[in-house]
């Protein structure tokens, strides 16, 4: 029911929220030796989700390790500039998706009220 109600935006919001967690993990592990930064390929995850995959599976299949611009000596591949940019971009996209959802709900509410 909710899939039909929110369409692609419901799935997009779930992936955006999960990506926020993954990017947050990268920022948290900026000083952990040997930590490999990860990111979710949003387009691939959404495609898998819309193709009928479950939430966790499609996100896991679209999670990739980041290729560092300049690897550090302790094996850590977190680059603060990259992570912060990705985090900001993801936050903006999350807000945009929220806006789409809000519009959808507003449309439905109006239809129900008969305004």
């Amino acid at each position: 029911m909710s899939d039909g109600l929110f369409g692609i935006h419901g799935a997009a919001l779930q992936i955006r929220a999960q990506r926020m967690g993954v990017l947050g993990s990268n920022i948290a592990n900026a000083a952990t030796p040997g930590y490999k930064a990860r990111d979710i390929d949003f387009a691939a995850a959404l495609e898998a989700r819309m193709g009928g995959g479950d939430e966790l599976g499609s996100i896991q299949s679209a999670t990739r390790y980041r290729v560092p611009v300049m690897p550090s000596l302790d094996g850590n591949t977190v680059e603060m500039a990259t992570e912060q940019t990705a985090f900001a971009e993801n936050a903006v996209a999350y807000t945009a998706t929220l806006g789409f959802l809000r519009g959808r709900i507003e449309t439905l509410t109006r239809a129900i009220k008969g305004e």
């Binding site: 926020m20 967690g21 947050g24 896991q60 709900i105």
Partner: protein
């Protein structure tokens, strides 16, 4: 779901880890230049060791402080016969703290702490927006 790691728990653990790092650097700075009567008694710098802590249920990972270790650096021997702690040769052992390295360590820890707060407040803001949606 109980036990699943949230963005807040992630941030909280990462911030405590950075705090441990900052405390270690502060201890090292406080003991810079302190002297001891023998090589064994001399202060050696503290170093926290971080490790990744993965929550396999949702693919989020945070930081764990694996332990705080003593750096393996030899204390500096200084000839100071008038010192009350001097041994029979007239030597004292000075702690091998590199003040510049500790200051850099402290700066980096505080920057990463700030970063985590920034990320957490953005996440909180987005969560509240989602909650208020109607």
């Amino acid at each position: 779901m109980p036990g699943q790691m949230t963005m807040f728990e992630l941030g909280q653990r990462a911030m405590s880890a950075q705090l441990v790092r900052m405390n270690a650097a502060a201890s090292n700075l406080a003991n810079a230049g302190s002297v001891a009567a023998s090589e064994d008694q001399a202060y050696r710098p503290l170093r926290p060791v971080f490790a990744e802590h993965l929550d396999a249920a949702n693919g989020i990972s945070t930081v764990r402080v694996q332990g705080v270790q003593r750096a393996d650096v030899a204390p500096v021997r200084r000839h100071e016969p008038g010192h009350p702690l001097a041994d029979e040769n007239g030597d004292v052992w000075v702690s091998p703290v590199d003040e510049n390295a500790e200051m850099v360590e402290m700066l980096e820890a505080s920057r990463q702490y700030q970063n985590m707060i920034e990320a957490m407040s953005t996440a909180k803001h987005l969560m509240l927006e989602t909650m208020r949606m109607k």
